[in-house]
Structures are given as C-alpha cells and as structure tokens.
Symmetry: C2
Subunit: 335 residues, 2 copies
C-alpha cells in the first residue's frame, strides 16, 4: 500500500496525497476529504523509511537511547522519563544496552547513526570519549546522561553526585560513626569519582581520617557489592557503617550481611545510593540518597529536542539534586 495507490484510487496525484497526509499546504477541503477516506478505507500506513530518506532534516521520529544496564531499575527510570517525552513528541525509542562494554557501545551508536535517528541520549561508558567528540563536532545531536567524561564539550544531564555522597556520609558521621566503609563504583566514571569525593569531603570536614582499608570497589554490580562487603568485614577492625554507592551493590551487600547474620542497624549501619522501589520494603527500610532518575530522563529528552530545534545554541550542562531519604538502616530514628 503506497501513496501512489492512494493517489490513483482517489483520482489525484501523489503530491496531493502527500500534502493531505502532512496536512500542510493548501488542499481543497473536498479533495482532502476524499483522500482521507481512501486512506482510511485502504488502511494505508505511511512508510517512514521512504520519508526519512527524502527528508534531510533531523525529523526522523526516532530517538536513540543507549544505557548501560536495562536491568538496573535506575536506568529503567531514566528510560521511562525519556520515553514519556518522546511519546509526547510522537517519537519512538530505539533502546540499546551496552553492559558497560565500549565495543558494544560503539556498535550501537554506529547502528543508530545508520538508522538515521534524530539524536541519541547516551549513558557513556569509559573509553569512547573521542568518538563522542567527533559525533558532536560533526553536528550530531547527542546528550550524555548520568556521567560526564572529562574535557568533553557536550550537552549533559547529571545529578550532583558529590553532594549526594557528602550527604550520605555526613549522615553517618552525625550518627557518630568514624569507621565508615565505602563501596565504590567503576573507577574512571565521573559519577563514581564524584561520590567518592563527597565521601572524602564529609570525612575531612569531620576530622575523621580516611583509611585505605575501608575503601573498596564493587564496579556497580551486585556480585561486586557482595565481594566488597566481604572484604570490609574481614579486615582487622571492620567498619561500623557502610556507604554503598549504587543500588545493585547495596543488594549484594545486604545479602552478604544476611548470610553472616549481621543485623542492620544494630551491628552495622548501611546507607545506599539510589532509592529503588524495594528500598522501602526492606526490614529495616533502607536509608538512601535518592536520585531523580525519571527527571534525568525527561530533562535529557527535552535537552535533545532543544538541540534539534536549535543546533547552534550553546552547550548545556544540567545538574539535578539528590535527596537524602532517611529510613531506618542507619538507626538514629525515633521509634
């Protein structure tokens, strides 16, 4: 079913059909009606592929979204935010999942470029910075979310990770802890390093020494969180509190603690980063730094649209704030 068949059936030219379909230009009311009737009757569906080939604008009706882990509820939130904006703009989403693999990421970005998406929202891994740079300088609409490779002049939407880390650790310090273990994310990722900065800042401010033994890395995955927890618990003088810097590692940590029958918050205090939907269902409910994942996605999508409408406006870097959600996994709550 093509525009040509519609044209024939309605006794007009393809140009007229196209005009009616894009309800642009001036077509006589009667003619438009007749065409629309035929369109309806023949159940015609426009071919976006053909359209996109002809129309050189960025108007492809598809946005790309590249995330690192679709199974992490945080990124699911982000995706939902992006989706809601995309849908409002009649766009559809091409979502890819890199698993933090730079090669996969490159493949997906190339695929999306080949598919001529309008633009891409990307949670960057490490190692492809020059590639992004080339895309941006070629004028391709790209928005980075959640992470910001150093020295890159590109639109970004991220959260204030340092402040988030600071808040979390300050809370622990305020409750009297001085041996505070941290489970860090992936080395070299901006958000991981910033959260770590926040940790150090809070300790420094309180005059608490920073002890190497208490600094572990869990690479943002559950098994990493578990191993890191194990490491923290088996040192000479284990921490009295743990700051886990993402939700999956928190899960690993919880499981390890449960296995060892170490109870929260009595034996150890635990504070997480990222408020997942299950955080409140834990016993005790988890105190955590809440990241606005959905808003991150919404803002990224809106920024992308802004960029599309105005390719030469200056680069924007949006930073959203976190919120400390105090529940009971660090104690300190009135009963």
């Amino acid at each position: 079913m093509t525009i040509k068949e519609i044209a024939e059936a309605a006794g007009v030219s393809t140009a007229t059909v196209s005009r009616v379909l894009n309800n642009s230009d001036k077509v006589q009311g009667k003619t438009a009606e007749r065409v629309l009737e035929v369109v309806e009757k023949l159940n015609y569906r426009p071919d976006h592929v053909a359209r996109r080939m002809r129309v050189k604008t960025t108007n492809s009706l598809v946005f790309g979204l590249v995330i690192t882990d679709i199974e992490n509820p945080f990124f699911a939130n982000v995706a939902k935010g992006v989706e809601s904006v995309a849908f409002k703009n009649k766009h559809v989403l091409m979502i890819c999942n890199t698993n933090e693999d730079p090669e996969k990421e490159k493949f997906f970005l190339n695929s999306m470029l080949s598919e001529k998406v309008s633009g891409v929202i990307l949670v960057p891994t490490t190692g492809n910075a020059e590639f992004y740079d080339k895309l941006v300088s070629d004028g391709f609409p790209l928005v980075l979310v959640d992470r910001h490779p150093k020295g890159l002049n590109v639109d970004t939407v991220a959260i204030n990770n340092e402040e988030g880390g600071y808040k979390a650790v300050k809370r622990l310090v305020d409750l009297g802890h001085t041996r505070i273990g941290i489970i860090n994310g992936i080395k070299g990722l901006s958000n991981a390093e910033e959260r770590f900065h926040g940790y150090k800042k809070a300790l420094n401010e309180a005059g608490v020494p920073i002890i190497d033994e208490l600094i572990t890395y869990g690479n943002y995955v559950e098994s990493g969180g578990r191993k890191a927890t194990e490491a923290l618990l088996t040192i000479n003088e284990p921490p009295t509190a743990i700051f886990s810097t993402n939700n999956l590692m928190t899960l690993g940590c919880l499981k390890e603690l449960y296995k060892r029958k170490i109870s929260i918050p009595d034996d150890i205090a635990l504070i997480g980063f990222d408020d997942s939907t299950w955080a409140e269902a834990l016993i005790p409910p988890l105190t955590t730094v809440k990241q606005p994942g959905y808003e991150l996605g919404v803002n990224a999508a809106e920024l992308l649209i802004k960029r599309l409408n105005n390719p030469h406006s200056s680069i924007m870097n949006i930073v959203l704030n976190t919120e400390l959600v105090i529940r009971n996994s660090c104690g300190g709550l009135k009963p």
Copy 2:
C-alpha cells in the same frame, strides 16, 4: 558520505562498492581492498534507511519490542534476553512501553510498522486482539510474550502460569494454611487468570473451600498490591497466608505489612510470583515462584528469527516452566 563518493574516490562504480560492502558476489581482491581502504579513510557509514527502502526483505536490522512496563524488573529481564539474541544477529532493538494502555500500544505498533522493523515481539495488553490478528494474517512477523489472548493463532512464548500458581498455593497448603488470600493481576489477562486457576486447583485438591473475601485484585501494580493487602487484613477473619501474583504487588504488600507491624512469617506467610533480584535480600528472604524472564526473551527472539527465515512454517506456542524458590517468608524452613 555516500556510496557514490566512495565509488568516485576509489575509481569504481557504486555497484562495485555495494558489492564489496555486502561482501557478496565476486569482486576482484585488489578492487575490494582498494574500496575498503577508501571506506575506512573516509569513515563511511552505510545508510540503513536507504538500504531498507531498496531491499524488500524483512532484513531491516531492527526488531521491535513492545512491553507493558519497563520499570518492572521482570520485563527488563525479558528485554535483556531479547536484546542478547538481537545483538548476536547484529540487530538493534526498538523498545516501547505501553503502560498497559491499548491506544498507546496501537500507536507504537503502527510506528514500528512504519519504521519497517523486521518483526515485533509484543507483551499484549487487552483489547487489541483483532489488530494482532490482522497483522499476522497480513504475514507480519509477530511474537507474543508472557500473555496469550484467547482464540488467536499466533506465535507465543509464555510460562506455565497455572502450574506456577498451583505450586505456590500447594506450598502454603502443605504448610497447613487454609485461609489463603490471593492478590490477582489484571482481569482478562491470560497469565492472571491462569495463576488464579492454579490457586483454585491447589485449594480444591486439598479440599480447602474457596472464599470470595480472600480473593482480591491488585492489577499488577504496587499500589494495587498495597490496597489489596489492606483489604485482606481488614476482613473479619484475615488470611494466614497471602499469595501475591506479581513482584510489584508483592512490594506493595510488604510495605503494607511493615506499616501494620505484621511480621513475616510469624504473623502471616507470604509467597510471591516472580523472583526479583531483591527477593533474596529481604528479611526474611522471599519464597517465590521464579519465572525465567530472560529465557522468555531469548526464546521469543529466536522464534521471531525462525519466523522470519521461514514465514510459512506452522505457528508455535512455547511454554516455559516455573520454579518454586523456597526461602523463608512462609516459614517451614529448618533453622
């Protein structure tokens, strides 16, 4: 950067470049090398849009995936399974999120058809059955996952929901419960009804009467689970065990129980459906019926590929089994 420019730069025709790029046909080694060098040097990226327009096959390098809730870890699992197969086949995924809204679903399906995806994997909502039917009879490659509208002759991959529900409730019955509340999913959805069948079957087999008061509906969302739990707890003689038929409703249930300081498994037993990553981190860890979400996705994608390669082979309905994961939320475990 088009194939034409490559052709000029390499001093050959566009046909030759195309042949080299699709490493088909016989092109002289030297020529191919020269072309590839130019491709490399000029950083050429094929235009899939143009390609797809010319090539009428189903070979579009894009699969569609329509799910109902990207924030539900179960569907994230499914998506990941689909993704892994897609990636192996150098395909990229167009993912849409219907939120159980039939209108949105229709819009997305139309979009995907317009984008000429190779085929679609769909978690169907209610109400668009005739639409699917038309697609399938038009020869469009469609695979349904997780749910199966009645009377539709279409490829499906689902789990054995009735057996899953049966296993869960049997476990409760075996532990001596006779007042077992159920929090059902969305009325009219095959998987919800099948799980409910399993519930009734287990009770009937044990000679336990089925009591209307104990049957509630939570529509597969957290708030629904919460309200349903509230309803169950405020009847005259509350249940001693609850079967929650999906993960989000289980979360709602847990929160309601926590609020009311009802402890698991001492005051009430709880069994869930769908083993989320957090289920094991709960205290006590959640006993649940595990659905193989990832495998569901893998199988759906493979079925889709099979369908693409062989459009006229007979319709397949794949059913995967569940597994009862016994933890401690129903009690009955040796300490």
